[in-house]
Amino acid sequence: AQSVTQLDSHVSVSEGTPVLLRCNYSSSYSPSLFWYVQHPNKGLQLLLKYTSAATLVKGINGFEAEFKKSETSFHLTKPSAHMSDAAEYFCVVSDRIWSGGADGLTFGKGTHLIIQP
């Protein structure tokens, strides 16, 4: 079985400072990992994905995440926060073998990112 834990329900940073959103996962197999962003009353947008290639993954809008197997972590970072980054962020794990081919995704509960001016 797979699971994902987002360690912070809310993160508040000042504009221009670094962002760190933490995510830990568990999976019986080699997982695929994703980060999605959701602005209020909008659908989810894929930020980046890890699929067993390079462990440091670069995404859109200056975000990146590093897959650390030894720590079972996939934390999301950005060097300098922008006001437009304020949103809900979801860490997601996919274990395609476990899902039986239905691309079963397991979502974290989300982290609300607040950007202070």
Binding site: S32, Y36, K42, G43, L46, D103, G108
Partner: protein
Amino acid sequence: SQTIHQWPATLVQPVGSPLSLECTVEGTSNPNLYWYRQAAGRGLQLLFYSVGIGQISSEVPQNLSASRPQDRQFILSSKKLLLSDSGFYLCACTGGLSEQYFGPGTRLTVT
């Protein structure tokens, strides 16, 4: 790349009334399709998924149902809405490497 359309964007319905939410997908064929519900302050809950026309799997027992009459059309229905059905409903389809792409969502308020 895939484009997912959902309608309506918002809906206010009384308790006991029927429901029909529609999702259509462009830019891909034979996708896996999903319905999720996002209740206020909560994460996403997978409701249904479909791997092909007429093939529906339910993840959570409830008074909702889903149908897939065409390859790129996915419909979420209910005969009688409950207050607890209120939420944000998202349709998604599978991308190339098991990621999913989401539609803009439908905000349902049951009064």
